[in-house]
């Protein structure tokens, strides 16, 4: 961290980097944002059967993870699902 960084706003290069990272993940996995949204909604539906979750705070993304085989990285579905209550709200 340098002195100048303290006064610096987030430049557009950081925005470009963040956008690209997401874009490449979906390009590589051949999975569009719409499909991601559908997966997300289905996950909410399934988990909600068993516990109360924070649908707003739910975050899912396809990232890459190291693969043990074929010396490369493979796509992985990463989901961060905050649980509000372990009990089922329907009961």
């Amino acid at each position: 961290m340098s002195l100048l960084d303290l006064f610096k706003k987030k430049g557009s290069s950081d925005v470009a980097k963040d956008r690209l990272k997401l874009l490449l993940v979906s390009d590589r996995a051949n999975c569009s944002p719409e499909v991601m949204e559908m997966i997300k909604n289905d996950i909410i539906k399934v988990i909600s059967k068993y516990m109360v979750i924070d649908a707003e705070g739910l975050d899912i993304q396809i990232t890459s993870t190291e693969s043990d085989t074929n010396n490369g990285s493979v796509p992985a579905l990463f989901a961060n699902i905050p649980i509000k209550d372990m009990r089922n709200s329907d009961k």
Binding site: S12, S13, D14, K17, L20, L24, R28
Partner: protein
């Protein structure tokens, strides 16, 4: 044995032809025997960037169709006796050549008694037939990109296709058109950023230098002159032949304020 290098990018306008012209010329200046092949049938431009457009008689399509021998279609560059250009046809389209025919041409060049060190292919934009022709017989790929979202995205796609073609670990990245003033302001991705995203060996970084425009106007590649881009291209050539060359400081000479701000940044 000749090494076949394809210069590709996916996206158009990032500098494939300029890179091919400069790397081909640079390698020849380093004493290597080089053939450059324009595979952009219908939209050829390598000839004009090299200033050889008035010397074309036969072309690559004539060679594959048997209208001439390969040597008849090859143009020698008078400024650089070890450099040859094999242009393609301007009034045909990409379907005039197949990947098999391309490989046959490359095999003939590899067996040539002149013993070319490098065969450099200027690939067209896109991922269709022209691209398939260009990568068919390649041993190695130079992927050209610029620090922009669209160009990097396309480069990533190209790398995926090159991997699938068996060129994994034979791909190097050239980051073209870097503007250090913008990088320093945080308004352009840096070489490290691009490297971080694409995870590919960066073999060179070329600044956005107005001398490139001047060189293209004249039809004289600037590789090896004392402009920043000329030095950057020559460094890439040296790395291609296996020399270990440190990266150029693309900031150039730099003014007082640049030095002052780098003091603050602790660089």
């Amino acid at each position: 044995m000749s090494e076949v290098i394809v210069v590709t990018s996916g996206k158009g306008g990032v500098g494939k032809t300029t890179t091919t012209a400069n790397i081909g010329t640079g390698l020849a200046k380093l004493g290597k025997k080089v053939v450059m092949i324009d595979t952009d049938t219908g939209l050829r431009n390598l000839d004009v960037v090299l200033g050889l457009e008035n010397r074309i008689v036969y072309n690559l399509v004539d060679v594959v169709e048997g209208n001439c021998r390969i040597k008849q279609a090859m143009i020698t560059d008078k400024r650089c006796p070890k450099l040859y250009l094999l242009p393609t046809a301007q009034t045909r389209d990409k379907s005039a050549i197949t990947p098999e025919q391309m490989i046959k041409v490359l095999d003939e060049l590899k067996e040539d008694p002149e013993e070319f060190d490098y065969i450099i292919l200027d690939c067209p934009a896109g991922i269709e037939q022209g691209f398939q022709n260009a990568i068919a017989g390649a041993d190695r790929a130079l992927v050209v990109t610029t620090p922009e979202v669209s160009a990097i995205r396309d480069a990533d796609r190209i790398v995926g296709l090159l991997d699938a073609h068996g060129l994994k670990d034979h791909e190097d990245l050239i980051v073209n058109r870097i503007r250090m003033d913008m990088v320093n302001r945080g308004e352009m991705m840096s070489i490290d950023d691009v490297n971080d995203i694409l995870q590919l060996n960066v073999i060179g970084a070329v600044p956005d230098d107005e001398n490139i425009v001047v060189a293209t106007n004249k039809g004289q590649p600037l590789v090896g002159d004392d402009s920043l881009a000329g030095q950057a291209y020559m460094n890439i050539c040296r790395r291609i032949i296996g020399e270990d060359v440190p990266f150029l400081d693309l900031n150039g000479k730099g003014g007082f304020f640049k030095k002052l701000s780098s003091l603050f940044k602790g660089k």
